[in-house]
Symmetry: C2
Subunit: 340 residues, 2 copies
């Protein structure tokens, strides 16, 4: 089958040490590794964009979790899109655009069965964001786990992030009465209102979350989409109305704390208010994928979604992009463009 | 209609002061008050048993909650059973046994529409416990809120209490693979295993809850029925398996703390394990009443339920019974027999 001349080697990012607390560049190693020729049924992909995501921080710890930990001395896998440069697989031609899970490397050799061909009339990086896992996380979390209904009020933390900014927009497009977001800088707050169309937003660093939330949503909230945990979750439990729901999607505020995090001290309010708090992982919601792709793809083509990406140029800056994302340097989806 | 000679006065317990922390006898006042003759459609009930319940502690605080606070200088209402001694209401005759909500008094004059006639071939006090709100709380909480299914492992805190002992028994009768309870004394622990049929039980005062729970349920639990909050809830979050559920029914460990309670520091585990935590009040589940009465009433008549009551004799000891219940002096439902 088709084949281009493959380079002998490509660069990969390996996990060099397990961080305690915030990761540092020393926890990673940039390694030159051989590029394998494709076996039967395999393809070689030259990656164009890599995804860096909060859940990856969890995989750096050596603890049993919903995804296995990264192995020391091995590649940091993750979502990536690129184009086929060699193929020994039926139905995959050189030049095809594909989405796959072998990120953090320039070239990936993999079974074609583990790659998905994507329509390249949309920008490829959309498949790592708004049309990918982050979009589906927002869609499934808000609608399925959070049981959001038209006319309800929604609060999202980490709202300027990839998932958060989609949650707010889906809520608005689905008829929310009020959408409030929190983020970590005045510039992000401005963007939430001016560009993502949130009704209100606040900077959680500017004052107690509970007070700012009460000001933004004086009649309370019906759904809270939690990307951060900690103080935000406690404030949301206080603000949720009768039979309110909290979607527990992330706890980025806690991922890098070496000490024990603080739990919501007001959880007993859940009894009288009959609150429901429910954890979610996107992997449980693939059945929604067709409905999601149709509805969100439609919004995207109609220009009704504001999509922001923070693109870091150059494979050698992947670690900077990852650490920056953990510290909130991004607006919208954080991506690495492999060829800087 | 029928009427006996009514006494001029009867005794009532009033709320005299709002406690901060644990209630003391000084927060209550025993008052001699006139017994009203029944108006049209009304009955007068001579109470035989009064219920004292954890939720009443919450009503002593002047805070908006799911039930309005008790008023200062007014009677502490609550569940009671007794017999009609005067009736101006169709369908209610002197001698009828009734269940109603005007407890903490010897005589209650009320609209017959607010009383329920009960079958006195069963002991009247069953309607305050196993066949009443506490039984329905256990039944609805385990089966509806907790989505318990045959073959699952269940952990109950406050297991020797009225609700907790029913939760464990319903779980066993419905085919649980394992039922573990915690309680606050070695004697209660013994009773849970020997008399209520729990598979395992431990004394939460004898060591860390998480360690004792791990020993009793080494493969984890599927449903946690929470009557206490605090350390128990945190331990349960740690022990819950994938898609486990926590039914938040009570937080007795926190009711009397003047300081802020501690929230579960490990709540972020709910994300990866997709846990669901949900608050409940029995009032949302009255639709289950017929199924509950049929199933639990059947078990009761067949002698398949072990029912324990702690009966305090004498209306004048109602406050002692209430405070004793809050401190864990009871096994099973705590009741006051009005005529000591």
């Amino acid at each position: 089958m088709a084949q281009q001349t493959l380079p002998a080697t490509g660069r990969e990012w390996h996990l060099a040490a397990r961080p305690s607390g915030w990761p540092t560049p020393e926890d990673f190693a940039l390694v030159e590794a051989p590029v394998s020729a494709p076996g039967a049924g395999q393809i070689v992909v030259r990656n164009e964009f890599l995804s860096v995501d909060p859940y990856m921080r969890g995989r750096m710890n050596d603890v049993k979790s919903y995804v296995p930990p990264f192995r020391l001395g091995a590649v940091m896998d993750g979502g990536a899109v690129g184009r086929v440069v060699a193929s020994e697989a039926e139905g995959f031609a050189v030049g095809d655009a594909v989405l796959h899970g072998l990120g953090w490397r320039e070239y990936a050799t993999l079974d074609a069965a583990k790659a998905v061909k994507v329509d390249d009339s949309l920008p490829l990086q959309a498949y790592l964001g708004v049309l990918g896992m982050t979009g589906l996380t927002a869609y499934a979390g808000l609608l399925e786990v959070g049981s959001f209904k038209e006319g309800e009020a929604v609060f999202v933390s980490g709202a300027a992030g990839a998932v958060g900014s989609m949650v707010g927009q889906i809520a608005k497009l689905r008829g929310a009465s009020l959408v409030v977001g929190s983020a970590g800088s005045p510039e992000k707050v401005r963007k939430l209102v001016d560009e993502f169309g949130f009704d209100a937003a606040f900077d959680y660093k500017a004052g107690p979350v509970a007070e700012q939330l009460a000001k933004a949503a004086p009649e309370g909230i019906d759904v809270y989409f939690d990307n951060v945990g900690g103080e935000h979750l406690e404030a949301a439990i206080g603000a949720l109305t009768l039979r309110g729901r909290a979607v527990l999607c992330g706890a980025i505020a806690q991922y890098n704390e070496a000490g024990a995090p603080v739990g919501p001290r007001n959880l007993a309010l859940a009894i009288g208010k009959r609150l429901r708090l429910e954890g979610m992982l996107v992997g449980d919601h693939y059945a929604l994928q067709p409905a999601f792709a149709a509805e969100v793809g439609g919004w995207l083509r109609e220009g009704r979604l504001h999509v922001e990406e923070t693109v870091v140029d150059g494979f050698e800056h992947s670690v900077d992009a990852f650490i920056g994302m953990l510290r909130g340097a991004n607006t919208g989806k954080m991506l690495v463009r492999v060829e800087g």
